[in-house]
Symmetry: C2
Subunit: 239 residues, 2 copies
Amino acid sequence: MDAQSIKVACSSCNLRELCLPMGLNPDEMDKLDNVISARRRIKRGSALFNTGDRFTSLYAVRSGFFKTCVTTADGRDQVTGFQMTGEIIGLDGIVSDRHSCDAIALEDAEVCVMPFDQVEELSREFTTLQHHVHKIMSREIVRDHSVMLLLGSMRAEERLAAFLLNLVQRLHARGFSQSELILRMTREEIGSYLGMKLETVSRTFSKFVEEGIIEVKQRYVHIKSTEGLKLIVNPPTCP
Amino acid sequence: MDAQSIKVACSSCNLRELCLPMGLNPDEMDKLDNVISARRRIKRGSALFNTGDRFTSLYAVRSGFFKTCVTTADGRDQVTGFQMTGEIIGLDGIVSDRHSCDAIALEDAEVCVMPFDQVEELSREFTTLQHHVHKIMSREIVRDHSVMLLLGSMRAEERLAAFLLNLVQRLHARGFSQSELILRMTREEIGSYLGMKLETVSRTFSKFVEEGIIEVKQRYVHIKSTEGLKLIVNPPTCP
DNA sequence: GTCCTCCCTTGATCTTGATCAATCGTGCGC
DNA sequence: GCGCACGATTGATCAAGATCAAGGGAGGAC
């Protein structure tokens, strides 16, 4: 095993507890290592894939940060998600063999390329992997439903508070701070994801700052009261 | 093979071109017939499953009409989808072994119960079925993204027009009219799905009627101009 | 049949967030 | 260092849709 293949191996990746190989035994992990044929680097601002591109592979984010977005015929677009290390991108392409959204790197990034036919092949061999693939897809469905809830029935403040809590929770699972984060996306991208205009995002940030719940300096956010944010998302019901 | 098992067989079901068995060969279909262990009848207004219920099976809608909805701690809820014959319900439960939404019958309904461990088992055997299961999950993800687009960046009229077009298109795929439909859900449920209040739904219906695009009588809707609806969803961009 | 309930419609008013506009700050290229 | 471009902030105004309110119609229970 040469240096290169060690470098690409899931078994030696510090994300294996978050990423596709989660829960696999060493033997299964070895097989999966063979599937991860390559890494790919994506420059900030460029696309991992675009709408209409042929679907061949799933991608695991190894480093960096992505957004996925769908676009209408008349040019409006909607950010459907932000993906960080260990998360899987590309599931949208399975159904029609073509991608139905764009995946754009928000900072220089690297992904592991997992040819989907090989993932399917290995899934037939290992129950664990099969079930894990199903779980990953199901998780995406459940996440999407919670975004629908957010978009369909929350007000601007609730949306932004929920967004910050979600981000910081995912970052914390990756070993980062529970209270501090650097936003990798612009106010406009946050707004697109949350169904509000960039001005409203900015105003809502300012409101949270005034209320002493967070501190903001550009992309840097310090959450001073997680409780405060939670109360905004789920206001206590008056009896 | 007795009368009962003929009745439950996918191979003799008129939905087989829409439902899970789509694309299977006769041999594979036979095996799938064994997985579909039972049918279940659900009365109008009652639940196929509720949030928190243990996940065991996927359900294929055999007849009737469902809604799925998620609920927040403080009692707000959001309809995440409407399911008609041939569509699959329950994918949300895979990730955590528990359902994360309620599935409610909007009219007396019948579903085919497909124990998920058996679906997985058969998927390992048949590539066709495996891929089809993946496609069904991917289709749900893509659908969810288009709902996000709708909720995040469309105005009330656009949402309702897109909703009607989607409903009638799915009904047409099932052999119903391209221009007439009976709504199985209330204005409030439509509103919850589309992120608007029932009054706004009602007003928007009335507006379409005034404009001569549709005729409405309670739950009955006649689409007089599909083109008109399409123009509302995708207004031609002025050059 | 009659009553009752649920659902729908329509009107008047109010609120939230969008829009339009100006300014500022930061970081990058030269 | 300087200027430029992009992103962020903030203010003023406007409009879409929410909210509050009243009434009407269809269908089921009795």
